[in-house]
Symmetry: C2
DNA sequence: TTGTAGGCGTTATCAC
DNA sequence: GTGATAACGCCTACAA
């Protein structure tokens, strides 16, 4: 069996600023300046320095730079589960935006465990300048570094959230327009900030009683997973002609459970999801869903964090508006046909 | 609107080793020792130091430590797209294993762009001790830091791969046992190492002609996506009674396309996926699939990298064996019923 | 425009 | 067992 070893440079250690300076015949400080503030250095020396940098293949040692500068130029992002497409989408957006700001991204996956979350925060806090926390179930405390929260608002930190009332209205208005009058609304976990928020929106909607008047059946709380959706199907379709899921995973579960039960979607039962994940397009029929602006969620979180890092004030709470994506899991209720 | 600023400690700067030393009435070196090699310090002093650490809320400055130690205790992982559940699963595994080794994880998402990939590698290489590269389309060159590749073998670096021949055999044997004799095999992108590998396995299988003799229809190359699967459906079912997809995303697309075309799965057409993602359980019918040991892929990659970092030799190539997960997208071909 | 010098916070090698 | 001291590699007033 072939074996491999770390490719240790056989003789030459990695070049430092001093090496470059020697090679270019200038002082180390000049090299440093050439790299960080080129405009402060004469074109001729600059060229010489850059040539030397090139020749030696010099790359600044980041820990040294971080130590001297007092910052890491990295941010952390903590999510419960990176394999959940919802969080993956946010992480991707964060990663991109951070990259545009020349910030590295450290990631921590907490498995949804509050203890792991606290640990992750503490660990991250020591090696990044700021943190984007996507922690549905608990409020993060990162100690010294600034935090921006996604999908949870708090008094202590800026945050960017999705307007849950708009989610509810978009879903219910759509179903109402199709002719549904009795609608099951699947609740998310009681521990989720956004679920609590949505519950309230549903209650308020019931109180506001806009026309047409809807009868709303709260179901659950139900885990925000595919399995949760499967399990909730029976209860959800007991009395209602349509179901609003807490998220797309649940909605996909509902659709599959309907299929198994021989219930036609959307003809016998409408299902509407939430989040607008890619998988919503991958069910049969394709899922009508209330799409959250996932990229924007991440982008704005990073933007806010960037402002904080520059010492600027960040807006307290940014509320993003969802949009309805119509596919084929919703239609008029059976009796009106 | 409420505004927030970075929580700058109003008066007290963050405590350093020297502060702790002063507080405990010992020399800074003793504090350092207490933290990194407690067994070398007298119990009494140790207690005093730890008390001081506690009292001041001291946490070592990582960049300083990294500079002094000459290592970062972090690894990087680069993937084409973190929102692809396949890569997300690997990242999760990497993240966990790394955590167990007290290594932080930096993540880079390259969007499948080779240029971005090279950039990501270069950037990562400067801030981590090693890299796990999941780059299906190209061979990474990270310069000075050791690299372990996932799902691609190379002469230069250790790697951990899935046995593509076993994937092919598992899928074809399963279909053959059900009675299928003419089977479409959807090819992955020509740029993927694993796709090339699988193509070869398919060819070899055709040559080996085990009984029963199968007629294999290669389809594509087809993008390894849901849309790719949808598009490939017509061609794949032209002449065959079963389709082997390149991965689960494609398989899900095939199933949905079948549904749209009014073709019953598995009664009229069997579909088998590959990878064993969560979404394979989320289609209707549930996807029979050849599951790759995704967690093991990540775990072993980190393990190998860990060995490299400790200066030990790593095994050259670790080949992992997939397993068949039977669900409900495969059945006997129509004519045998 | 460039050089000087001190410091960033920790570790490691010595003596004591 | 503990203290002194010199790196680690870079940055940045400040001086020239």
């Amino acid at each position: 069996m072939r074996c491999y070893r770390a490719a240790v440079a056989p003789d030459r250690r990695v070049p430092t600023l001093a090496d470059v300076a020697r090679h270019a015949g200038v002082h180390p400080a000049t090299v440093s300046r050439t790299l960080s503030r080129p405009e402060l250095v004469a074109p001729a020396t600059r060229a010489a320095v850059l040539a030397a940098v090139e020749a030696l293949g010099f790359e600044p040692n980041l820990p040294a730079r971080q130590l001297a500068r007092g910052r890491t130029d990295a941010i952390g992002v903590v999510v419960p589960d990176i394999t959940n497409p919802y969080f993956a989408a946010i992480v991707r957006a964060v990663q991109r935006s951070a990259h545009d700001l020349d910030l590295a991204v450290l990631i921590a996956d907490t498995d949804g465990d509050p203890a792991a979350e606290a640990r992750a925060l503490a660990t991250l806090a020591r090696q990044v300048d700021g943190i984007v926390a996507v922690t549905p179930t608990s409020e993060p405390d990162a100690g010294r570094v600034p935090v921006v929260q996604v999908n949870r608002r708090s008094r202590r930190t800026p945050s960017v959230v999705v307007d849950q009332r708009a989610v509810v209205d978009l879903a219910l208005d759509h179903l109402a327009a199709l002719g549904h009058r009795r609608i099951a609304v699947v609740r998310g976990p009681g521990t989720y900030w956004s679920a609590a928020r949505r519950d309230r929106a549903v209650e308020q909607r019931a109180e506001r009683t806009p026309r047409p008047k809807l009868r709303l059946d709260p179901i659950g709380p139900v885990p925000p997973t595919f399995a949760g959706g499967v399990d909730a199907f029976a209860a959800a379709t007991q009395r209602s002609t349509a179901v609003v899921a807490f998220n797309d995973l649940q909605a996909a579960g509902l659709v599959v459970a309907a299929h198994r039960a021989g219930v036609a979607v959307p003809d016998a039962c409408s299902v509407i999801g939430s989040d607008g994940l890619d998988i919503a397009a991958m069910t049969a029929p394709g899922l009508t869903t209330v799409a959250a602006p996932l990229d924007a969620l991440g982008d704005i979180a990073v933007e806010q964090l960037g402002a904080l890092l520059r010492g600027e004030a960040a807006r307290g709470v940014v509320t993003l508006t969802p949009t309805l994506v119509e596919r084929h899991s919703t239609a008029a209720p059976p009796r009106t046909r």
